[in-house]
């Protein structure tokens, strides 16, 4: 580590050496780039015509590119076209990114330019690289974004002169006018899928740029040669997204880590550990991961925590060898963090631009650095920048020395604190215990009906052949399977309907939701009418066992795709599947349990209806007056534009299971 400190002192020198006012604006901050950006921004501020505004982001990109060139990096400009995220029913899990050519390539109004710089490692072979990403909004650059660019520039210029570098460093200054994720994702897509000049899509975007360029008088650094150049630096071993934030103040400089990528994927745990270790033990920063604030103040949770604390103390007093050490405050905080970690994984939507990297098997996290003082406070900021720079440098150095890929269990975990986690080996047991009753009950129901049937056939000796249904004993589940299949078919159609509903112009979420639900009901009605003769003659027990089998297959599949969704979903699905029985069917138990069972059944049937459960959840969190019909539409739109498998789970597993449960409840 002494070497690291030495290097850091060089870095300090670098910062101090440029710590003086550079121009008439009396900029106090230690960075050429930062100040230059600020000047640029202020000089363009008064005139807000579209032409000037257009060239502003170009100017910023060129300025960053020039600074990159100055430290000896290879520079190119990545251009991308903003494409609105849409519902692609066939693109779930397709790891090959969409290469669809945009239909209207004439619409060139939306595009961005991200400068990219690459430092070639003196000790590397150019086959591996580390990526540093700083998103900035080129249309409306804020002080904190300028600072993060400056910070990245300082680290970049330091790294350009170190000798220990074994992996190339790529700095992507992502133009985040259309969202941070979009620009990073399109850069990654172009990085991994080389497009050739014959490809029509690329030609479209090139023409696009050439056309718009004609409006700009000066285009010295955006000449044609720079366009075709897409420089690469081998496999990316890790990526860091660095952002300086100006949020609420705390007593120490703080790092917020965001790690959740699409469909609950997480980066290698070691990346989080490195950041946590270096931030806490070397730089004295405070590290936070996502937490649910409302859970921290929950009285119930505090009570449970205190009870647990007392119980563990009791247990420890009984046996001194046990070191359980449950602390009430830790418990509450851990639970709140765990809940947030599970929530974001279950949602399946990435929590930041780092999510784009995980789709290419690259470990990435977003670090949000927030100083304890205001961004305009000179002393506070320079020490904050120094620490943050050292932190980034340390992380890059650690990744630089890393050689191999870790075991897969390092990717499957929940965070309970920045340095604590629940591993797959632990949480899978709980889930397996939760889901295990499903196949057991299905088998029990199935075999009991099969036994009953064979008994009746033996006692009758001459089975009545009036219905072919009752003939074959072993295959009588086929009639129930037909119904289950039909319901799943309906659910598939329902899950694809939003594609058509969203094509209707001039609709808001309420009308979309209404048309979605009405068309679903219509299709359900048509399907049941058309196939009335086909789905007859099933017993509800067999239907229940087939339904449970379908639900358990769905849940176990989902637990592999996105564990958190399966866990959350199973909490609703498992009791509903296990308890359901026809309301009109008498049972041989005392009146009170029977009534309780009925009430619970009805309650679950109401609560487990996806829109209803969303409404209840929203009502509990934000008050019941905020509930709107269009909520469910907005929520599912949010899920499908991010290709979240949670949408598929709700539509293809949860919804048919709920419908079949209601069907059984109303069975005669």
């Amino acid at each position: 580590m002494s070497k690291l400190q030495k290097v850091s002192s060089i870095y300090e020198f670098l910062l101090v050496s440029i710590l003086k006012p550079k121009d008439q604006y009396h900029l106090l901050y230690p960075n050429h780039l930062w100040s230059a950006l600020w000047i640029l921004l202020h000089s363009f501020m008064p005139s807000k015509t579209s032409g000037v505004k257009f060239s502003l982001h170009r100017e910023i990109a060129r300025l960053i590119g020039k600074h990159m060139e100055d430290v000896g990096a290879e520079v190119y400009y990545h251009k991308f076209k903003y494409r609105n995220l849409q519902f692609h029913p066939l693109c779930f899990f397709s790891s090959i990114p969409r290469t669809a050519v945009p239909q209207n390539s004439s619409a060139c109004t939306l595009n961005g330019v991200s400068p990219v710089g690459i430092i070639r490692a003196p000790r590397g072979d150019g086959k591996e690289s580390i990526v540093l990403v700083t998103p900035y909004n080129s249309e409306n650059i804020k002080l904190n974004e300028a600072l993060s660019l400056g910070l990245a520039y300082s680290v970049f210029s330091l790294l350009s002169r170190v000798v220990w570098l074994a992996k190339d460093i790529v700095w992507l200054a992502a133009d985040s006018r259309y969202g941070e994720y979009t620009s990073v994702a399109s850069w990654l897509k172009d990085y991994h899928n080389p497009t050739f000049s014959s490809d029509s899509g690329k030609i479209g975007i090139e023409m696009c740029f050439e056309k718009t360029e004609n409006h700009v008088e000066e285009q010295s650094s955006f000449d044609g040669a720079a366009y075709d150049d897409f420089k690469r630096a081998g496999t990316m071993s890790a990526a860091l997204v660095v952002k300086v934030m100006d949020k609420e103040r705390s007593e120490r400089d703080r790092v917020d880590i965001y790690a959740e990528a699409s469909n609950g994927q997480m980066p290698n745990l070691d990346l989080i550990n490195i950041v946590h270790y270096l931030a806490v033990h070397r730089q004295g920063l405070h590290v936070r991961v996502g937490t649910f604030g409302f859970l921290l103040n929950s009285a119930l949770l505090k009570h449970v925590g205190k009870t647990l604390q007392r119980l563990t103390r009791l247990a420890e007093s009984l046996n001194l060898g046990w070191k359980l050490g449950v602390n009430s405050a830790d418990f509450v905080e851990g639970t709140a963090t765990l809940a947030s970690s599970m929530y974001y994984q279950a949602l399946g939507v990435p929590t930041g631009p780092h999510g784009a990297f995980r789709d290419f098997q690259i470990d990435a996290i977003t670090m949000e650095l927030s100083p304890r003082t205001s961004l305009t406070n000179d002393n506070g900021i320079s020490s904050f920048l120094l620490r943050s720079g050292r932190l980034i440098e340390g992380v890059i150095r650690s990744v630089n020395n890393l050689l191999e890929k870790f075991h897969q269990s390092f990717f499957l975990y929940f965070l309970t604190a920045p340095n604590k986690f629940v591993s797959v080996g632990v949480y899978m047991i709980a889930f397996a215990l939760l889901v295990a009753p499903l196949p057991i009950v299905a088998a029990a129901l199935f075999s009991s009906t099969a036994n009953a049937r064979s008994l009746t056939t033996i006692s009758n000796n001459k089975p009545t052949n009036s219905k072919p249904v009752t003939r074959s004993g072993s295959w009588n589940w086929l009639h129930s399977a037909k119904l289950v299949f039909l319901v799943h078919l309906w659910a598939l159609i329902v899950s694809l309907l939003p594609y058509f509903v969203s094509q209707i112009p001039h609709t808001n979420s309420t009308t979309s939701m209404l048309s979605w639900s009405l068309s679903s009901l219509l299709i359900l009605y048509l399907l049941t009418r058309l196939t009335k003769s086909y789905v007859e003659g099933y017993q509800w027990e067999v239907l229940k066992s087939v339904m449970i089998a379908a639900a358990s297959i769905g849940l176990s599949l989902m637990s592999i795709i996105n564990f958190s969704t399966a866990q959350v979903g199973s909490i609703l699905l498992v009791p509903m599947c296990l308890m359901v029985r026809p309301l009109k069917q008498p049972i041989q138990v005392p009146i009170f349990p029977a009534a309780l069972l009925k009430i619970l059944n009805i309650l679950l049937a109401v609560v487990a209806f996806p829109p209803a459960s969303l409404a209840i959840l929203k009502g509990c969190l934000r008050g019941f007056e905020s509930i709107n019909i269009g909520d469910f539409w907005e929520w599912s739109e949010f899920l499908w534009v991010w290709n979240s498998a949670t949408y598929l789970f709700v539509a293809l597993v949860h919804l048919p299971c709920w419908y079949l449960c209601v069907h059984i409840l109303l069975h005669n």
């Binding site: 066939l90 790891s95 098997q361 897969q408 052949n465 072919p468 086909y534 297959i553």
Partner: protein
């Protein structure tokens, strides 16, 4: 029966469904799924082989193409033909839709033959029992509908691989043998063996079919019933068709080899072809993951044990041929189904196309297998495995959070399911025969 009334609409609907999906086949990217396309059947590899041949190289150069040179001649030109910027495999997919239709019709014809003989046999045995035992479902229609609507078949048809043609040849051989068209049976058998080697063991059911005729209750029931010497009426092994079959097999084999050598003229010739097609199947050179079990095993095994285990795995199939043939001699079609299932489990490059074939042949015995145990378990298992397998593959290859064991586990589960299917169906069939015997005794 509802099945009969809706039969033709359902057939046309199945074909329309395929035609509807053909333009989207490229988006679904089925051709690159290891479950659908194997190194032997992949149409991409065929296109590569065709390209090599066009540029005056042997199509077996490198390790890309391992199929028959005849397929190269028929399908090769279609892989490069494009119709108005449609995907390149459109023509081939249309041909596969037709092939699927023919296969389904042949399966139906086999089923009708089986039902006819079944009916005759039962009449011979005891006319009064006819109604009860024969009052079941129309197995022929069901089997062909299973073939057409099975998701495995649909996926195989759209997935640009040549499995539909292999399946057609197998079904052609069985059909030819059932209806005693000896040249057709020999042609189907020779072509199927030429394409994928494993149907070679079907020679036993085909010979039994030619010798004894289609499936019947056990022969010992007949003497019981017709004890006056009439029993010999049904079961006489006729040698005439067998000799004809042998002759035709020789003719067709020579013809196929001749055509192959003509098509490979100027390259390494027939020996190279046999080495690159049959040798490739037998030595399991390609260890890329598939739904079978051999790739994992041979990736792990030490090099000097390789030869030994290759023999063990292939003899495994041959071991089961004789006992099953003796026990199921009176039901050659069912025997063919069992052989196909076993070879689909243990072959070196299995795909869901094989499963599509044997599952529809299973439908032919819907009446006999009505009492089959574990049917629900098998059904759920097939659905679970076929959904789980792509997810595990994604986890391993694309996300990097799983490993090969995850994917192999589904392959293992799939092999177990197939084993259970074979065991259960054979035991149910034997039980069925026993029940028949018991009922005959009672009267």
């Amino acid at each position: 029966m509802a099945g009969t009334r809706w039969y033709w609409p359902l057939v046309w609907a199945a074909l329309a469904f395929r035609l509807l999906l053909v333009p989207f086949a490229d988006n679904l990217n089925l051709g690159s799924r290891p479950e659908v396309a194997t190194p032997l059947t992949s149409l991409r590899r065929l296109a590569e082989g065709y390209w090599l041949k066009q540029s005056s190289l042997s199509p077996y150069t490198g390790s890309m193409y391992h199929g028959s040179p005849l397929l190269l001649i028929i399908l090769g030109p279609l892989t490069v033909k494009r119709i108005e910027s449609q995907p390149a495999h459109l023509c081939c997919s249309l041909i596969f839709v037709l092939v699927d239709f023919f296969t389904a019709m042949l399966i139906r014809a086999i089923g009708e033959k089986l039902m006819l003989t079944n009916c005759n046999n039962l009449k011979l045995l005891k006319p009064s029992k006819l109604v009860e035992s024969f009052g079941g479902v129309d197995a022929a229609d069901i089997a062909s509908l299973i073939y057409l609507w099975n998701p495995f078949t649909v996926v195989t048809c759209l997935g640009s691989c040549t499995s539909p043609i292999d399946n057609l040849m197998v079904v052609l051989a069985i059909y030819g043998a059932c209806s005693r068209i000896v040249p057709l049976a020999a042609f189907g058998w020779v072509m199927a063996t030429h394409f994928s080697l494993y149907p070679g063991i079907l020679v036993i059911p085909v010979l039994l079919l030619l010798g004894y005729g289609p499936d019947a209750p056990p022969p010992k029931l007949f003497p019981q019933k017709h004890s006056n010497g009439d029993g010999s009426l049904v079961h006489v092994f006729s040698w005439g068709p067998i000799l004809q079959f042998a002759l035709w097999v020789v003719i067709w084999s020579c013809y196929v080899l001749l055509l192959s050598s003509i098509s490979l003229k100027g390259f390494d010739g027939l020996y190279d072809m046999l080495k690159k097609t049959l040798g490739f199947i037998l030595t399991v050179e390609d260890l890329s993951p598939n739904i079978g079990v051999l790739w994992y095993f041979f990736a792990e095994v030490f090099e000097f044990f390789r030869g030994f285990f290759l023999i063990v795995f292939h003899v495994n199939i041959l071991f089961m041929v004789c006992p099953l043939a003796i026990r199921l001699m009176h039901r050659p079609c069912f025997l063919a189904f069992v052989y196909i299932t076993i070879s689909a489990t243990l072959k070196s490059y299995p795909s869901v196309g094989d499963a599509a074939l044997y599952l529809s042949l299973l439908g032919l015995f819907a009446n006999e297998l009505a009492e089959m145990k574990f049917s629900f378990f098998l059904f759920c298992g097939y659905i679970g495995v076929s959904l789980l397998s792509p997810v595990m593959h994604n986890l391993w290859i694309w996300r990097g959070t799983g490993n090969a064991n995850f994917y192999f586990a589904t392959g293992l589960a799939y092999a177990c399911l197939q084993t259970v299917l074979v065991v259960e169906s054979v035991s149910t069939m034997l039980n069925h025969d026993r029940k028949l015997k018991k009922e005959l005794k009672k009267t």
